[in-house]
Structure formats: structure tokens, C-alpha cells
């Protein structure tokens, strides 16, 4: 029996030449994957570019001032002396004021919607809160200049000066604009973020926990306090910190009402300046390379601080929801 091996296809041999069409498919597969990989790497590249740009741009100022840049309180483009302390102070204080106002509001909304309110009201209230997040910063600023500030100047600030000046926080002329105005606008802007994460975190508390509290004879508020808020503590803290992160970087609305005065004042009614605002206001008019570099260095500091804050918040929220932390954009 003649045996021709050349054309035999061995059915048992595991090594077979892949047919031609399959080879090209594999190439296309790797090509496609490669393309998608490039897109993913672009994301990494963007952040890399951000870091390099910021580092390069701030090099001049860093060389000139070193670490003292962040402790000096003289900001004088004319003489060339740049200290960023007033802006750090302004950013921190305005954000704290915002948190002070926003956290009770946001947590209240979250608790109300998740635990207390009648079902038909849930959607409208959540929707309304989310709508607040969709409004651009510049529009908040516009509204704040023409509506909020007059109210503050005419009604709220004199009242605060009258009854709370003993705290030392409410002194000086009632301009309307200033740290308090910035804090209030920021508060309205960060309520949606804190509230939506808080809502998620509260919803994840298992129902049996609530039942355990109720079965012991707890009233509804006691049940919420004991079984829901307690269990969601870490997550709510994460939500608050996420709100802080957003407040730190907020630019337009704050710029429009903070008064743009690079001075550190104890009174909340005084004008101030934040890191984001000074960049927005002065960058295009910067008088020298050093000036510009100083502003970029402030940008670098802002970048680092917001990253740290956001990572911290993300970790806290993740430990509670054990999953993808909620996206915080609209």
C-alpha cells in the first residue's frame, strides 16, 4: 500500500498549521487590541503630561522660593515676591465653611430620601438634588453675584455681625462678597455630590440590620441612628471628603464672589482669595515669567492636594460599598 504523507492531515497530532484566514484574523485581533491599548495608554499619558507640564512650569518659582513659597504671605507681582499662604488659607477656609453648611444638608437629604420619605417623593427629590450638580460653575457665580450677595450684604451679614461678633468671625463692613459668600455658593455646589454618595452608602446597609434594631423596640430615628448611620459611617466620611475635594478645586463661582483680596483675615465677612481664583484672575495678565511660574506652582499644589483628597475619599467609600465607587460627575 502506497503511503503518501505529504497530503495527510493528521487528526491526532496537536500541532497543526493554522489556516491562512485564521492567521490574519489573529493579526487583526492583536491589531485591534493594540489600538484599544493605545487609547488606554493615552489616559496614562495625559496624566503624565499634566505632571510634567506642572513641574516644568513651576520650576522657576520653585528654584527661587523653595518651600517658603507656601508659607509666605506677600503676593506682590510688582516687586517679584510671591507667597502663596493667603491663597492656601482662602481655599481651606472657604472649603471648610462650605462643608460646615453642606454636610448637614446633604446627609439630611440622603437620610430623608433613603429612610424617611414617602416613595413617590423619592425620585423628584433625588432628581432635584442631581440637577444642582448639572448647573455649571459660572452660572452659580452669576446667580451668586446678583442674587446671593445682595441678600448677604443687606440681611444676613448685618444679622451675623449683630449676634455673633463675639466669635470674632463676623467683623468688618458687610460687603456681601467675601469668604462667606464663597462658602455658601460652594456649599450649594457640593451638596449633590455628598448627598448622592451618602445615599448609595446608606442604601447598601443590609435590611436585616434595620430589622434587628426595630425588633428591639427602636423608634425609626433610633433605628436610623443605631443601625444605618453607624454602619455607613466610613462611607459618609468618604462622601464628605469627596465633597471637600470638589470644593478645593472649584474656580469660577468662587472667583466671582470672593473679593479677590490676597490677605489673610480672621473675619468670614472679609474678602479673600483662593488658589484656583488667583490662577484664573492673574494668569493671562501675568507680568513676568516668575509670576506665571508662581501661579503654575499654585496649580501644582492644587493638583497634588485634590488627588490625595480624592484617593482618600475613594478608599473610604470603597470599603463600604465594596465595589466601584460612584462616579461623581453629572
Amino acid at each position: 500500500m502506497a503511503s503518501s504523507e505529504s497530503s495527510k492531515v493528521s487528526l491526532v497530532s496537536p500541532t497543526r498549521e493554522a489556516p491562512a484566514w485564521k492567521k490574519s484574523a489573529i493579526n487583526l485581533d492583536s491589531g485591534f487590541k493594540g489600538l484599544m491599548l493605545v487609547a488606554a495608554l493615552v489616559v496614562l499619558g495625559i496624566v503624565g503630561l499634566i505632571v510634567t507640564e506642572l513641574l516644568q512650569g513651576s520650576a522657576l518659582a520653585w528654584q527661587k522660593f523653595g518651600i517658603h513659597f507656601f508659607f509666605g504671605s506677600e503676593w506682590d507681582p510688582v516687586s517679584g515676591g510671591f507667597g502663596a499662604l493667603p491663597f492656601i488659607y482662602g481655599t481651606v477656609v472657604s472649603s471648610l465653611v462650605a462643608l460646615f453648611i453642606a454636610v448637614p444638608l446633604a446627609v439630611a437629604v440622603a437620610v430623608f430620601v433613603t429612610e424617611m420619605c414617602p416613595k413617590p417623593l423619592r425620585r423628584p427629590i433625588s432628581y432635584a438634588t442631581e440637577l444642582l450638580a448639572a448647573i455649571p460653575s459660572v452660572i452659580y457665580g452669576l446667580w451668586a453675584i446678583f442674587i446671593l450677595v445682595p441678600i448677604l450684604r443687606v440681611h444676613v451679614e448685618p444679622w451675623l455681625m449683630k449676634y455673633f461678633s463675639w466669635t470674632g468671625l463676623f467683623e468688618g463692613p458687610a460687603y456681601g462678597i467675601g469668604m462667606l459668600a464663597a462658602g455658601v455658593v460652594l456649599a450649594i455646589m457640593i451638596v449633590p455630590i455628598i448627598s448622592s454618595i451618602a445615599r448609595e452608602v446608606l442604601a447598601v446597609v443590609p435590611q436585616p440590620q434595620r430589622e434587628a434594631a426595630l425588633a428591639l423596640g427602636a423608634t425609626r430615628w433610633e433605628m436610623i441612628r443605631m443601625a444605618v448611620l453607624r454602619n455607613a459611617r466610613a462611607g459618609i466620611m468618604g462622601a464628605v471628603i469627596l465633597g471637600l475635594g470638589r470644593a478645593l478645586g472649584e474656580t469660577m463661582a468662587v472667583t466671582m464672589v470672593i473679593g479677590n483680596s490676597p490677605a489673610i483675615a480672621k473675619s468670614l465677612l472679609a474678602p479673600g482669595y483662593t488658589m484656583a481664583s488667583v490662577i484664573a484672575n492673574e494668569f493671562n495678565e501675568a507680568t513676568s515669567d516668575l509670576h506665571r511660574s508662581a501661579l503654575i506652582e499654585i496649580g501644582l499644589a492644587l493638583f497634588i492636594v485634590t488627588i490625595i483628597v480624592n484617593i482618600l475619599a475613594g478608599l473610604l467609600v470603597w470599603t463600604v460599598t465594596r465595589g466601584t465607587p460612584a462616579r461623581t460627575n453629572a
Binding site: 416613595k119 443590609p206 436585616p208 440590620q209 434595620r210 430589622e211 434587628a212 434594631a213 426595630l214 425588633a215 428591639l216 423596640g217 427602636a218 423608634t219 433610633e222 443605631m226 443601625a227 453607624r230 454602619n231 459611617r233
Partner: protein, 251 residues
């Protein structure tokens, strides 16, 4: 023999679905009564009506009379009812953010007791009643309630429920999520507890019912088919449906 819980014509709904169709039952004081029946027969719904947990579901409704110690529980605040009628759930649910001590003391603190000495005493006593004291007495305030094993957690939940001195204890399949050894411990516990309180226990395990309960009620599709001494139910039931269930023809 006194009646601890009197149920007259109890009906319950989930939305439009009627889950219980007029239950009448008299539960003996200081005895254990088992509630058995196939899945979906309404046994959990029934006992959840006894401490008004049923109505925590927004779609739920209940009608009828339930008297505990002579007083209609629907005529008093639900919060008060749950202090007198305690509950242990199918899956142990200790408060994970609280220590063992705080878990047991939770109910007491709610009711305004803050005296350290009293709390310490009650916590110890409840944990002893729940046969958990020896195992946790050294870690009372050091470990969280959720750090214990499943069986221990359930006994912790029993201690927590006992701490507020209820007259009636409802148990919704308390051992179904536990291993056999823990189950045996819980059953021993029930033996001890029923000398002082009235126990109503839902179980899908008929052997368990015959082990721990003097009385048994058989539920089917929202109706109480037969209610009698456990012995009778399992050896000589009056209703054919009861007989079919216990001999395993369905459920």
C-alpha cells in the same frame, strides 16, 4: 394554663395579595409553640404580625386582634410591642460596629438605662441565659459582634433580645443558617428559656419542632390547618393535609 398570646381572625396582606386568611390561635404561656408548614405558607408572615414587624414593609397590612398578656398589640405603639415581644431572625444580624457588650446592651440603652452597674448585670445575665457567657466573657468589649462564629452570633442575637426582658420570644427559623452543633445548642437553649418565657418558633424542620415544642401549628397557604399538642400532630393528626405534610408527601 394561661394564654400568653391570643390571635383572633388575623389577616395579613402584601399589597393586594392576602397572605394570611383569618388565623385563630391561643399560644400557651411559658411553653414553646412551633409553627410549621411548606415554603410560602405564611408562617414567617404570621409571627412577624405578632410583634408588628410585618407592617415595616410599606406594602403590608394586617387586620384582626392579637393580644399579648391580655392587651391588644394593635392598640399600642409598635415600639412598645417590640419591647415585650422579642425576635430572633433567620440569619444572625448583630450590629457589626458595636462590641459584643454594646450589642447586648443596645436594647436597654434605647430604653434609657445608662447605669453601668445595671447594664453590666443584665449583659452578663442575658449572655448566660443564651449560653454564650463563658465563650465571650473575656472579649466582651474588645471584639465586635460580627467577629464571632455563626452559631455564636445567633446566640448573641438571642442574648440581645433577652436583655430587654420580653415576655414572648419569636424565633424565625433561628437555626436554619447554622451547622448541626450550633443548632443543637440553640435547641438546648430553647428548652431552658421556655421555663421563663413563651416561645413561638417557626421551623421547616419537623424533627426540630417535635424536639423543642409542646404545641405545634400547621400552616398551609395562609391558613392554620391544625393546632394541637405536638405529640398529636406528629403521631395522629386530625386533618389529612397535616398528615400529608408530615409524612413528606409534599413540602
Amino acid at each position: 394554663m394561661t394564654t400568653a398570646v391570643e390571635v383572633h381572625d388575623l389577616k395579613a396582606w402584601f399589597g393586594k395579595t392576602e397572605a394570611l386568611h383569618g388565623i385563630n390561635m391561643a399560644v400557651e404561656a411559658k411553653h414553646a409553640t412551633a409553627v410549621i408548614g411548606p415554603s410560602g405558607c405564611g408562617k414567617s408572615t404570621f409571627i412577624r404580625c405578632l410583634n408588628r414587624m410585618h407592617e415595616t414593609n410599606p406594602e403590608a397590612k394586617a387586620e384582626g386582634t392579637v393580644r399579648v398578656g391580655g392587651v391588644d398589640i394593635y392598640e399600642m405603639p409598635a415600639v412598645d410591642v417590640r419591647r415585650r415581644v422579642g425576635m430572633v431572625f433567620q440569619k444572625p444580624n448583630p450590629f457589626p460596629t458595636m462590641t459584643i457588650y454594646d450589642n447586648v446592651a443596645a436594647g436597654l440603652k434605647l430604653n434609657g438605662t445608662h447605669n453601668r452597674k445595671i447594664l453590666d448585670d443584665v449583659v452578663e445575665h442575658s449572655l448566660q441565659q443564651a449560653a454564650l457567657w463563658e465563650e465571650v466573657k473575656d472579649i466582651l468589649k474588645k471584639q465586635s459582634g460580627a467577629s464571632l462564629s455563626g452559631g455564636q452570633q445567633q446566640r448573641l442575637c438571642i442574648a440581645r433580645a433577652l436583655a430587654v426582658s420580653p415576655e414572648v420570644m419569636l424565633m424565625d427559623e433561628p437555626a436554619s443558617a447554622l451547622d448541626p452543633i450550633s443548632t443543637a445548642k440553640i435547641e438546648d437553649l430553647i428548652f431552658e428559656l421556655k421555663q421563663k418565657l413563651t416561645i413561638v418558633i417557626v421551623t421547616h424542620n419537623m424533627q426540630q419542632a417535635s424536639r423543642v415544642a409542646e404545641f405545634t401549628g400547621f400552616f398551609l397557604m395562609g391558613n392554620l390547618i391544625e393546632y394541637d399538642k405536638t405529640e398529636k400532630i406528629f403521631t395522629n393528626p386530625s386533618d389529612k393535609r397535616t398528615e400529608d405534610y408530615i409524612t413528606g408527601r409534599f413540602g
